[in-house]
Subunit: 127 residues, 2 copies
Amino acid sequence: MTPQRELIARTFFRNKGHVSAEDIYKQVQKRAPRIGFATTYRTMKLLSEAGVASLRSFGDGFSRYEPALRTDHHDHLICTQCGHIIEFEDDRIESLQKTVARKHGFRVTDHKLELYGICSHCRNTKK
Amino acid sequence: MTPQRELIARTFFRNKGHVSAEDIYKQVQKRAPRIGFATTYRTMKLLSEAGVASLRSFGDGFSRYEPALRTDHHDHLICTQCGHIIEFEDDRIESLQKTVARKHGFRVTDHKLELYGICSHCRNTKK
DNA sequence: TTTCATGCAAACGGTTTGCAGCTAT
DNA sequence: ATAGCTGCAAACCGTTTGCATGAAA
């Protein structure tokens, strides 16, 4: 554990999740401009290998990380207009997922549910 | 509509969906080696703009296309070991998704549900 | 001729890697 | 001294774009 890694990890955990590597890099740079993105990427890879961060790729080309400590499964509502991301959790959906998987002989290790649409804010301020 | 575009479109629809651009490119090249990937990409973009193909990015870095003609919403079970993809459909999950979205004031335009795990085949032939 | 698609190669953007230098054992 | 991390820059890989050629109307 080096100072660089500690700063990167702290920065990562300070966020609410759904953080892109670039986000972390920029935030880290404000405090330690000499840290390069290579170190950021390498550290995030370490964190995800260690199981404390999990990589989540939304459709937008670059990878996002979120803390893996959380015990709740949660999924995402994504506004395609403003990019805002809302988390939600629904036990009934979860259990239906398990049922479906079992029906196909799958042992599910992870899942990803994303609902894309227009959030209420963007719907009200439509031009 | 040019011969190239026709071949690419035909090749695309010959597949069962979840086809990567590279897949299409390779298949097309067997029949018409002079077609470049630029044309493949451009044609796939056209097809998705025309609404007959829809772009779906799984987490693996490159983009996949599937026919958009289909009326059923379907989701995916993905084996993380052999990469096999199974489609499924579950109306109860669909309706729960709508409920959740409504609760957050979202108007959902699209959704994506992916379950990752180990398929029955890989579970049985585990080494 | 004008238009527009093609094929090639170069560019792009996010991520990874090689490598020389630096730290801390 | 040696092991291993850093920072830089170059490489990488899937995708996009610029441009000269070529076919069609």
